[in-house]
Every structure is written in C-alpha cells, then in structure tokens.
C-alpha cells in the first residue's frame, strides 16, 4: 500500500553511539548500528524490540532529543523529512517542527504531565505556542480536543489537575496535547505499557481512530509484538541496535522470515493451548529450523488433592484519618476464600486496585489481616503469635514484581542468598552454606561467579532468578509470585516461566501466581481467581475460565487480550 513517493519520513543509515566515560577509557557503546526504514504517509509503523534494542534511541534521534552530553550521531546518518535532513537542522528550526509537525507521547502519562498546571492549561499552551491562538480560541479548541479523545465532561476535566484523572484519562489528555496542532507524525513510545489491559485496548482503539481521521502517521514503539498486531500497517523488528526484519503487518505476523521475529511471536504464552515449555529465543536462534511443538501440559484440579492452604474470608482494610476522630475504611480485599492443593498453582488475576497484591502480602503477614483465617496444615497463620509464625515463614515465600527493587543493592548475591540460611539456621557452617548457595545458583541458571557480584550487574531476568533462588534457600512449600514476570521482556518472561514450571515439577511447590496478564495466568495455573475491586468475581479451573467465562468482568478481561494480526475496529469509545 506504500510507494516511494508518499514517504513521510525516512531514516537512512542511522548510527548512534553513547560515550560511556569522559576520559575515553571505555569504548563507546553503539546503541543503533546503521538502520534504515520509512514511515509512509497516513500509516502506522510499529517499531518493536526488547529493552536495549535501540528503539527508543531511534525515536529520540528523530525528535532531536538525544542527550547532547554523551550521545553521538555518527556522520552519514540521515533522517529525511520533507526533503530536509533533520539531523542537520539548526536547533530552533527543529524545535519549531517538534510539537507542530511531529509530536510525541510517552510511557508514563503521570510523569509527562506537569502536576502543578491544569490539564486544559497544558494543552492550551501548546496551541498558543505553535498555532498562535488567543487564550479564548485555545480554550474552545481544548474542549473540542478533550471530547475527541473520549474524555467525558471536557468542561470539568479541562480544569482538573493531572492527579485527579485516572491513568487512562491521563494518557488520553497526553494524546489530546500531541494531536492539538494536527501533527503529520505522532511518535508513541510505549504508550500503553503502564496501563491495565482493558485501558490498553481503549487507547489502542483511540490511536487507530485518530490516525484514520486526521490522516496522520504514527510511529508506535513497543516491546510487545502482540500489541501492535492490531493497529500497525508496517512492523520493524529491532534487536541489539540493528533491524532484524521489516515488512507489512500481515507478512511479519503471518509469515515471519526472521528467526528472532518467530521467537518473539512464540514466546508469549498462547491462550488456546498449553505447551509443556514455552519457546525461548535460543531455541530459534541456534537452529534455523523451528523446534518441534512441545507436548501439552495438563492443568486443573480434580478435587481429591490434599489441600495445603485454605483461606477463609480473608479481609484487609486500610484506614485513613478523617477529621479529628473519624476514620475512613478502605476495603482493599474482602471475603476472599480459596483452597490451594499441594503442588498446584492458583492464579490470581485482576487489574490494578483489584486487591490481588494485598491478598499475597496479607498471606505473608506483611500486611495484618483485618478478617478471616488462613489455615496452613490446619493452623491459622493470622492468629498465631509472631514467634510461632517465624517457623512458618520459611515455608511460604514470595517473589516480588520488580527485580530491580527487591534485592538490596548493597548486598552481594552471596550475602543475599546466605542471609535466609543464617536467619533460619539452615546448613551447618559457612562451607556447607556456600555449597548450598552454589547449588541453587546453578539450579536457577546462574554461574558461581555471581556469588561476589552486586545485583546491579545483572539484567532484569537474572535478578528475578536471584530472587527466586533466595526463596528456594528455605525450601518453601508455597511460593507466592506477585507479578513476578510483569516487568520482564517477553523473551525473558518465557525463560522465567519455564524455570518456575521446572521448579514446581522438581520440588512439588505450590504456587499462588498473581498477575494482571490473563494469558500468563491461564498458562501457569490450575485454578484461577478473578478479582475486581477487592472481591472475587470468579473462581474456577483455568480452562473453564478461558472457555466458559461466567462473569461479565472476566469476559471483558479476556476480550482485552491483544490478538496478533487482528485489526481492531476504528471507532472512539469513551473512557
């Protein structure tokens, strides 16, 4: 559908390096290694890659927003827009172009909006600066724009501050600001990554509709190939600063030529079947022939399994002070009941604010339960004294969401893994403990050299392996995984999910698997608990949930899962 003539912007042989230290002791890091692609008029181009692939650097280079102190655009690179090379434009000409012809929306709507100005003011500012509108004209246009991006009651919302809007509305406001001057190119850098799946779907629909209506082009940057399948005309797959594959959406999704692209498509857990193991990048990169389809894994409970943990009516409320003596109760979770059979996985799924994390933390007594009981081998975990609970602590462990935050940055990996051993008196003597730690490191796929290193020297996936190893030191019976793979790239996510499955097979662990990602939960779990606003709305076998969802909320979650290659309807729905 595109020809050479209707190219809006062309990237030619773009190479960007970063200076790592000012004395030149370390060689420069080449982030983008000579890439080239076109953005046609009136089309959506998706730039897909995992972290470190150079996709964001490319976007920043187009906008001229690379950090000047250490980024070097190597000679010979060109970004052609309207017959001019953007890399050679003087600063003010480029600034003129930015915001008017080319605009951008970012991943975190909350931090991209200035918290001390109203939303309306911030949009109007763009209009006054670039379009030369008067305040009155700008105000009228702001209302039109807010209406166009589907924010209800534009009059009221235009005088609201960013924190008064929900995450989805904030992103809509950012989009309104970006399209305010009718740009010809909209660059969207991971615009839905920070949002819930149902909101993500709405924003994708909105972007698709706006692109169609304004006949602009969109450069959509994301790490998730599945997301762009619904809106992209063309797809560019990047890895390690180079382009692995580019082509029309149908071709890339229907008939991917590159092994890396195939791997990316395969390593997301599929909804309709459950392979024994997920495919990982290495499977595809080593052999050029696709690996054979693995056998199906059976999940589900029959009802006769021994129950290791029974939770009855768990409730957790938070209280905020109101006035002098009053307090307001906020029910983060209430009436949550389930049975966890030994060696099985219970998935807990829900959007942000549904109370799923609260359930996990309360079971660990990291929050104090306000109601209910948790029977572990017949003993109530919530009512026993702290000293007695310490013995149970080592039998229930938790892996947190953010591997960058859950490891103490001042501890070496060795210290992190030895600490639980010394606290609980596991292993006799330092030598025995060291041996145990080394074994565990090997088990989670890290080398012994990791022992003396600090967490910051590892990638996200490796850190999550360290966090898992820390739990395993205590040989727990139950492992709570609180969004443990959400912060990871899809390919790394597949590796960690495989590791978790292997560990379950090997040690007979029981998992409580908490996630917002229904596809991952469905793949990992025997039973699924769907939560919304602190309450359980559905509790059934995972296949049952997927095939015959009972509750409308479950159906809504299922329909929001992005399906590669299926174009979405282009029509704006309200937030």
């Amino acid at each position: 559908m595109t020809t050479e003539s209707d190219t809006l912007l062309g990237v030619r042989d773009l190479r960007v390096s970063f200076r790592l230290d000012k004395h030149g002791k370390q060689p420069d890091f080449e982030a983008v290694k000579g890439i080239g692609f076109d953005i046609p008029e009136n089309a959506t181009v998706a730039l897909v890659g995992e972290s470190g692939s150079g996709k964001s650097v490319t976007a920043l280079a187009i906008l001229g927003l690379l950090p000047p102190e250490n980024a070097i655009v190597l000679p010979g690179s060109r970004i052609v827009y309207g017959g001019r090379n953007l890399l050679e434009l003087p600063k003010n000409a480029l600034r003129d172009l930015r915001g008017r012809d080319i605009s951008m929306i970012f991943q975190e709507p909350m931090s991209s909006l200035n918290p001390v100005f109203t939303v309306g003011y911030q949009i109007a500012e763009t209009l006054r600066l670039h379009m030369g509108l008067s305040s009155r004209q700008a105000r009228a246009r702001v209302l039109e724009l807010l209406d166009e991006v589907g924010i209800p009651d534009p009059q009221a919302k235009s005088s609201a501050y960013p924190f008064q809007l929900s995450g989805g509305q904030q992103q809509r406001a950012m989009i309104a600001m970006a399209i305010a001057c009718n740009p010809r190119l909209l660059i969207a850098d991971e615009p839905t990554t920070a949002l819930d799946v149902t909101i993500q779907k709405q924003i994708l629909e909105l972007l698709a509709a706006l692109q169609d209506k304004h006949r602009m082009s969109v450069l959509f940057i994301t790490h998730d190939l599945a997301v762009v399948g619904e809106i992209a005309d063309r797809v560019v797959v990047m890895r390690d600063g180079g382009i692995r594959e580019q082509g029309s959406s149908d071709q890339v999704f229907g008939n991917p030529r590159d092994s890396y692209t195939r791997a990316l498509l395969k390593c997301r857990p599929p909804l309709e079947k459950r392979p024994q193991r997920l495919a990982v990048i290495e499977d595809f990169m080593q052999a050029d022939i696709p690996p054979p389809e693995p056998a199906e894994r059976r999940r589900g409970v029959v009802g006769s399994e021994p129950v290791i943990l029974e939770v009855r009516n768990l409730g957790k409320s938070f209280f905020t002070r109101e006035g002098l003596f009053g307090k307001r109760e906020f029910k983060a979770a209430h009436g949550v009941s389930f049975k966890l059979p030994r060696g099985k996985t219970l998935g807990v799924v829900g959007e942000s604010g549904s109370g799923k994390t609260t359930v996990g933390l309360t079971l660990m007594r990291l929050h104090e339960a306000t109601a209910g009981a948790a029977l572990f081998e017949g003993r109530d975990l919530f009512s026993m004294p702290e000293a007695e609970f310490k013995r149970y602590k080592r039998r229930i462990q938790i892996v947190f969401q953010n591997p960058y935050a859950s490891l103490n940055p001042r501890f070496t990996v060795g210290q992190i893994l030895s600490e639980p051993l010394s606290i609980h008196g596991i292993g006799s003597g330092d030598a025995a403990r060291r041996r145990l730690v080394d074994e565990l490191l090997a088990r989670v796929g890290l080398s012994e050299a990791a022992y003396h290193k600090y967490p910051h020297e590892f990638s996200g996936g490796q850190r999550q392996r360290i966090a898992i190893a820390r739990c395993l030191t205590m040989k727990p019976d139950i492992l709570i995984c609180d969004e443990s793979v959400s912060a990871l790239d899809v390919s790394v996510q597949a590796q960690v999910l495989n590791l978790l499955q292997d560990l379950q097979d090997e040690f007979g662990l029981s998992y409580i698997f908490i996630s917002h990602d229904l596809a991952v939960v469905k793949y990992m779990s025997d039973q699924v608990l769907v939560m919304n606003r602190g309450e359980v709305v559905e509790y059934a076998d995972s296949d049952e949930i997927y095939l015959r969802p009972q509750h409308p909320y479950t159906r809504k979650l299922l329909s929001a899962i992005p399906k590669a290659g299926q174009r979405i309807r282009r029509q704006i729905s309200p937030a």
Binding site: S51, G52, K393, Q397, S406, P420
Partner: protein, 379 residues
Amino acid sequence: MNTLTIATPTSPGLWALAWRRLRSDRLAMAALAVVVMFLLTLLLSATGIVAKNWDAEVGVNYAPPAFLGAQTAEERGVQGIDAAEEAPPENPRDPLGPILRQLRAERAAAAGATGSTGGAALDDYGIVDPLAREIAEIRGGQGARRAEAVQEKRATLPFGADKWGHDIVLKTVKGSETSIIVGLAAALLATLLGTLLGAVSGYYGSWVDDFLNWFYSVFTSIPYLLLILAVAAVLQQKGVATIVLILGLTGWTGVYRQIRAEYIKHKGREYVLAADAIGASNLRRMFIHIFPNVSHVALVQLSILTVGFIKSEVILSFLGFGVPVGVASWGSMLNEAQNELILGKWWQLAAASAAMAVLVTAFSLFTDALRDALDPKLK
C-alpha cells in the same frame, strides 16, 4: 535502553564506585590533600611528636615574626619584669641621692664598729632581717634562671610569639588539634544521636515517630546559641569534653530529619519487604538492610557537621564559653587576639584565622564533592 550492564571482572561496591568518581575530581582531591595534611598534623601533635612544648616561653613577649625583624624595647611597649627589677642607675639630678649615700656609709661604719650583728644583714633601719638568707638564696636562684631565660629567649620567632612568648606556630598546631578534635568528636556524637533517633522514628512510625517529632520540634524552637549557653551553664565544668557534649547534644536535629526521611522512604521498599519475608528481625532490617542504603546521607551530614562544629567551637571559645584558659584552640587564640590587636600585634589573629579558613574551605569543598560522588544523580 535505560540500563547498560557492562561486565566488569571485579565487582565494585558503592564505596569503590564513589571513590572512583571522587578521584576523577581534581578539586576534591586537592581539598582532600589539605584535609589529610591537617589530620596528620593533628595526629603528630596528639601523640606528642610535635608541639609538645608549645607552652614554653621561648620568645620575648610579643616577639614579632622573623620576617618583620626584632623590635626595640620601646616598640615592645610593655616593660618586662626583669627590666623593672634591675637596680636603677644613679640619677645624678636626684635630690635625695647625696642623703642616701651618706646614710648608707654611716650604717656600714656602725656595723663594722659594733660587730654585734654577727654578719647578719641589717635593713635600712639597722634591724636584723631573719629571712635575709632565704631571700638572698631566692634572689640568687632567680637571677641565675633569669640569666638563663634571657639567654634562650629569642627576639623573633618564625611567626612571632604571644603575650607570654609562646611560639605562635606551635600554638596554632596545638590549637588545630583541639579545634579539629572538638569538631570531629562533636560531629560524630551528633551524627550518631541523629541517626539512631531518625532510624527509630522513621522505621517504627506511629507514636514513636510522633513523640520524637514532638521532642524535635520543642528542641529546635529554642534559639541555638541560647540552648548552647544553657547546656554550658548546666554542665558547669569547662573542658574539651564538655564542649563536645554541648555541641553533640544540640546538633543532632538536622541529621535526625534527614535520616528519618530516608528510613520512611526505604522501609516500604520491596527489598525490605523481602527481608521481612525471609524472617529478618526489625533490628536486622533497620541496621543491616536499610542502613547501608542510607549511610551515605549520614556520612555527608557528618562532614557538614564537622565544618560547622569547628566554627562553633571557635565562636564559643571566643565568647569565653569554650575551652578553659590554658588550652590552646583557634577560638581561644582569637579571644586573646582581641586585646593584642589594640597593640598592633596581629600575628596570632592571622595564624589562627588562616589555619581555620584553609581547613574549613578545604573540608567544605571535599564535602560537596563527596555528596556528588555518593549520589551522582543529584548533580
């Protein structure tokens, strides 16, 4: 793209990385060299290798610095005691002169005639003085010592002398020892107090935090100098230990607020939750998990306080609430210099101020660089 993991053969911790950043900062290294020089001098003087005899009266009173040359007696202004004791030369125009001479001659004749005194000295009125021998002995001894002293006392010293003839260079070295020790010890005490209270307050929250905050607010509502003077009045004794206590007990508030804020921030972090999950006790979480992550804040505060307390000691001693008389410190030197300036003796003031200015400037520059090195994101 936000994390570039670079494989390094060794694994530098926070401090190694900070040191690496600090080393590439030339100004910081120069400042550090000055500070280290002061600390070395302090060490030498505290162990008695240098400036042990700083209170020996090695020069004449107010001996000027060598580069100004010796002063004449008139320039010195004040007559030395030895000069006053010397027998005054005969004044030919003294009207009493002849009468006195006659009186002495008569008395000598009488003594020779009677011989009744048995060689004992008679005073001017012819009465036997029972203490005469002892006085003569003391006089003789004094004379000998005075002769010695006059022999050793020098007219000039490298950077002059004070009222008593103490060498200013040695006195400044000794004064630096006192001032820096007071500054460091008081800063350590204040940082320790502030860190402990801040950690407890921030970590436990609820009523502990309320109580400590209330205490802090009351404490800071008292004007600082008044508070110091009040504590000084309560402690009664003057001495280096007292002033360390005064400064330490009044100076913890800034550290407290900073550390408290850090603990509030850190206690909800996932790594602390993870430590809770593996069964680490409260104390363990507070001091083994969180403290290493906030220790750089305490270190920077320690450094800032040291500079502040060195200055506070100077002010207190200058006002007369500081170190006791007879102990050299920059503050007591400045205090003495008040009176000397009227006489035009500026060198004690110059020496103390220069030493203080150099150290405080170097220490402040080093503190800034240290903060940047420990928290590069702040820059």
